[in-house]
């Protein structure tokens, strides 16, 4: 077992266990903190894939923005920071069965693909440059249209979230 494999296994264990804790823990704020740990683990996985740009963007966007938003929302929607009552609905057992079936199906379909055992990554560090990605995103024959669409989506989300969360003054009276 090489060092890379060891790091992968540790990161994967962290990701899976903290993701599990974040969907099962009773207090919402703990769930959010476990979620942050899972995101950091995923960033390590990206770094192992040698896509350092995405590892950094993962920390920047998910941990720096989305997770903090979620923690804020959790704190704002709790009078006291205690969560009473059951955290799961009645479908828990059924969902467990469905999810296990889906996971088994995924594993089965992976096993039925014979080449996958022998597949290794090509050693091409020069292809992983950020500049290439940036040029591809803005080139007219590349991905300029999807890129523009995402920027419009972000703008729409910005305006929409301000509109939705805006406390209208006349209702306060």
């Amino acid at each position: 077992m090489t060092g890379m494999q060891l790091i992968f296994l540790i990161a994967a264990a962290v990701v899976v266990s903290s993701a599990f804790m974040s969907v099962t823990s009773r207090r919402m704020i703990h769930a959010a903190l476990w979620f942050v740990l899972a995101l950091l683990g995923v960033a390590v996985i990206y770094a192992l894939l040698e896509v350092s740009f995405f590892a950094v963007v993962q920390v920047l966007v998910y941990v720096g923005a989305i997770a903090i938003l979620i923690i804020f929302a959790t704190m704002l929607t709790r009078r006291a920071l205690e969560d009473h009552g059951k955290q799961f609905n009645r479908a828990t057992l059924m969902t467990l069965v469905i999810v296990s079936v889906i996971f088994a199906g995924l594993v089965f379909s992976l096993r039925s693909w014979p080449q996958i055992q022998s597949m290794t990554a090509p050693l091409s560090a020069d292809q992983l440059d950020v500049g290439v990605l940036g040029l591809a995103l803005t080139a007219p024959d590349g991905f300029a249209l999807p890129f523009e669409v995402t920027s419009i989506l972000l703008l729409a989300a910005l305006i929409g979230s301000i509109y939705v969360a805006y406390e209208r003054k006349e209702k306060k009276k």
Binding site: F53, V56, V59, L60, V63, G64, I68, M75
Partner: protein, 408 residues
């Protein structure tokens, strides 16, 4: 490679040869040397911070017309060491109702988030931890971890002042990250890379000459990111008692304290690297160790400027702070980026003098416009000047002339 001209790579080379001759594998040696380097940088940064705390208190004392620390050692130079010993021997208090893991993780994360920035800083042409190709993004992303530390501290303390302080701190940090990230696009645009060493290499003429407005926005934002005066709302005693670290004691508080000072110094380093040309200076190509000295001098100058601002400017109100960010800095940053890109593209890179001149003129026009707009805006919403009656005096006959004029 010569020891006197470039000591650090020489030592690394020598150690590598030595360890390899002992029959260790090459991977192991590389990992070991990286570990040693990381420990040395962290230790150096922490020890440097203790001196920095003394210097800051001393300079602060001079600014405010007092002596500053002057008891322990000559000029009080060992004051921080005495403080350190005091903090080490203090009791760790775990208040009732805290959330153990977040409460104890927060101070560690606060220091680690600052120290991690040092991994990508090029200290001289040949001395840097890692020249990853997304260095600038890495610095901003690590800032996000610092915010997480503040949230953990505020939430884990089970104290309403701590929680309020944390909310305020994070709101401030996230807000000021926006213009900072936008403005950082300008050095990336000039150098064509996000790696910090490439950015320094591109600055034969420092970027502060090309983009003074962007430089100023970045400077303001990095002061705000530090949470220092005039943006020290996160620990405004009169409003929040002490901010998010109110429940901490002993070494845990000490770590927040160290993180605060280290963050200020680190942002001075980042500013130097990105806008002042880092290790660039005359004679660096021949003698790389000079680069480290240039870097240190520039950083200390920037840090001194930060101290001067910290000890003289009064604190903002929270609404003023948010208005400054969202109504002035963010639009200005956006306009600056667009304008710089246009001017930079319009003039070919060979005509360096004309290019710098055009960029300077564009920045000047932008600055005048922004200043004009702020002035008209503030005229439309005049600040109410508080004028009082004559204050009660023991001997009114020796009232100073200026006060007499205001009284009439």
């Amino acid at each position: 490679m010569n020891f006197i001209y470039d000591p650090v790579p020489w030592v690394i080379n020598w150690l590598t040869q030595l360890l390899l001759s002992w029959g260790l594998s090459e991977n192991f040696v590389t990992t070991l040397l990286y570990l040693v380097g990381a420990v040395l940088i962290c230790l150096g940064a922490m020890l440097f911070t203790t001196m920095l705390i003394w210097a800051e208190r001393k300079i602060g004392g001079r600014f405010q017309d007092r002596l500053g620390p002057n008891r322990v050692g000559p000029w009080g130079i060992f004051q921080s060491i005495a403080d350190m010993l005091k903090i080490f021997t203090k009791e760790y208090i775990n208040p009732v109702g805290i959330d153990k893991i977040p409460f104890n993780l927060a101070p560690i994360l606060a220091v680690a988030a600052v120290l991690a920035v040092w991994a990508v800083i090029p200290f001289s042409q040949t001395v840097f931890g890692s020249n990853i190709n997304v260095g600038i993004l890495f610095i901003i992303a690590i800032g996000g971890l610092g915010e997480m530390a503040i949230i953990l501290a505020g939430f884990g303390s089970n104290n309403k002042y701590a929680l309020l302080g944390a909310f305020r701190a994070v709101a401030q940090l996230i807000s000021y990250e926006v213009p900072m990230v936008i403005v950082l696009l300008i050095p990336v645009m000039f150098s064509g890379s996000m790696g910090l060493n490439d950015i320094v290499q591109a600055q034969t003429i420092p970027f502060i000459v090309y983009a003074p407005v962007a430089c100023m926005i970045f400077f303001i934002c990095s002061i705000a990111e530090n949470g220092r005066a005039p943006f020290d709302l996160l620990e405004a005693d009169s409003e929040l008692v002490a901010g998010y670290n109110i429940e901490y004691s002993g070494l845990k508080f000490g770590m927040f304290f160290v993180a605060d000072f280290l963050h200020a110094f680190t942002s001075a380093i980042v500013f130097t690297t990105i806008f002042l040309g880092g290790w660039q200076g005359p004679g660096v190509e021949q003698i790389p160790v000079l680069g480290g000295a240039y870097m240190l001098i520039k950083t200390l100058l920037v840090y001194f400027l930060m101290l001067a601002i910290r000890f003289t400017v009064p604190r903002f109100r929270i609404d003023q702070m948010m208005a400054l960010n969202w109504k002035i800095l963010t639009p200005l940053a956006l306009v600056t980026v667009v304008m710089t890109a246009l001017v930079d593209k319009a003039i070919p890179h060979e005509m360096t003098a004309i290019r710098i001149g055009a960029l300077l003129v564009a920045n000047l026009i932008l600055w005048l416009l922004a200043d004009r707009m702020i002035t008209t805006f503030s005229k439309r919403n005049p600040v109410q000047v508080v004028t009082g009656k004559l204050r009660p005096l023991a001997r009114p006959e020796i009232l100073s002339v200026a006060e007499k004029e205001t009284a009439q």
